[in-house]
Subunit: 344 residues, 2 copies
Amino acid sequence: MELSERQLQILQAIIYDYVENAEPVGSRSIAKRYDFGVSPATIRNEMSDLEEMGYLTHPHTSAGRVPSDKAYRLYVDDLMKKKSLSNKDKRFISDRLAANCTAFDETIKHAAKLLSEITQLTSFAMTPSSNQDIISFIKLLPADENTVILMIVGESGRIMNTTLRFEVSYSQEVLDILSKNMTVNYKGRTLDEVLESGIIADASSDIEALNSLLGKLRPTFIKTLEDMLDVNLYMEGMTNIFDIPEYSSIDRAKAFLEIFTKKEEFTRKILERADGVVVTIGDENDSMKDCSLITATYHVDGNLIGKIGVIGPTRMKYDEVTSIMEYLTNNLSETFKLTDGKDK
Amino acid sequence: MELSERQLQILQAIIYDYVENAEPVGSRSIAKRYDFGVSPATIRNEMSDLEEMGYLTHPHTSAGRVPSDKAYRLYVDDLMKKKSLSNKDKRFISDRLAANCTAFDETIKHAAKLLSEITQLTSFAMTPSSNQDIISFIKLLPADENTVILMIVGESGRIMNTTLRFEVSYSQEVLDILSKNMTVNYKGRTLDEVLESGIIADASSDIEALNSLLGKLRPTFIKTLEDMLDVNLYMEGMTNIFDIPEYSSIDRAKAFLEIFTKKEEFTRKILERADGVVVTIGDENDSMKDCSLITATYHVDGNLIGKIGVIGPTRMKYDEVTSIMEYLTNNLSETFKLTDGKDK
DNA sequence: AGTTAGCACTCTATCTAAAAGAGTGCTAAC
DNA sequence: GTTAGCACTCTTTTAGATAGAGTGCTAACT
């Protein structure tokens, strides 16, 4: 069944009102606050229909209506107008973002903080996943008699290293040969390729004399590659949720915060999401029902893709938040295009 | 005024009772539960005296007594007996600690998790402060035409690197000379020494031809050293506080959690604390009054010192928690003595 | 057929008063 | 020094009454 124009308008009005006031909306307040030229009774009838269609719910008989997840979905997909930020807001974001631009991770973290401040929600930011990063070179450095450092450098500038200790010592020359050999073998491939294809296992191409060292090195090499794939997750504004009526009970607050204690799981879920601005509402999130999650992607060097997002109650200013995030991620991508992504 | 033996016993009984039940303790329940051979009225008199001396407080006229910070301090210093862990508990800790021992940071994090699980409090762990780590060598590596990697390696095995981009390219030879030069200059000094004395500024000893590169390098060098000093802080069991009656109001919970949003400040405070098991109670903590904070130190290679701790309400099982932490940190130090601290 | 006024009905939230409970503090006796 | 007894205080619980918000239905109106 199609929704009539008036029903859409009423639904939108209810969403506005509920998002603003966090309280079930009655027919009377809609009739009064928004000028539909009809009486509360008419609105009541429409609301009843909307409820039947699943767009509204009823906490109890004598309460007003609350938009359902389905209503928010409709709103986000069809009703919502892109909100254009005021120049003041834009300048605020640009300035704050530019202010702190020394290290890459710092900038990302800063962006998350900014986002949580503006939206008054809990936000997070992730450093790019490096699985498409390309190996630039591999180097083995002797640290002392028994210690060798394995270092992998990606084209993005990302570096990862691990210290290894051996009983025997290896000469600079041996290590150099092996470094060059490994570099030749793996240079130009993405981390994913190297890890997932069995290339590492195939050592036959390596010089025989180095086989023993290479054997010892292999697990460390894999571990270092995996470390390199790790993304960093920064959370900001966690305590903001205490100011949101939805989470004013201890149980709800606890449930909300527990999401973030499982960082790995959370990270995995975020990485699975599509690029661009993505909104998932309530039940659409397998866990964290009664939350909405909005993520957006930024680019580094036009290649690597990092994510930034906010989490809050389904009752959320979707238009504002998505607009802010779009502007913010564009800005971030721009920043990382010009200055080139430095890494720790 | 000295406390009589009986007053000490009564105080201890009140502390036990309050720690267990989280409710103001009345004279009657003390008389009944602990066999002092005197009537509630007598206990009442003693309690009144204890209150006058500042060991007890009164939420309101007709409520029982609650131990003050002063009482807990007395308890921790004089009354508390060291609780010896059961073999079962010991085995549990040892096993869990040994189970996950691949990477250094992982082990630390794991220890914090374990601590929060056992105590049901919020815990944290910090990687060692490297300020006494000694520079082993410094290396400049060419990554591509415009990119140089600065790498500082400490004797502990800790490595830190930063990528630099230049307009001009430097040959392997130039970088090698500078690497050797820098290594000679700084090798054997602690990070603190190098950063705080003005050694870095004194470039006169460096070969003239390299001065321009060195000039560009200097800020990066300092930044990398500082990064190396950074300690990692891991928090575990944050949501445990929701199960503690003291924090069952949203405001209290919020205040508690806000402590951890200021990681830098918190880290600084923890680093200032003395070595060994240190207990600070309520007002003794400048911020976070009405919390108690217990920290303990573990050693890596017998040198570097990391910290692990718990935070909870002043109403806490000090004897148990301190014993667990002592055992845990000894165990950690032992682990890091044998396997040698690897670092990412 | 759509719209509207009117009104009974439902459910929640708020307020009040009363009662119960816990524990003290004091007094007088042991 | 100890204790029983008891009045007093303050909090917590309970219950009932009331007010308020909003619906859902009916019947009348356009």
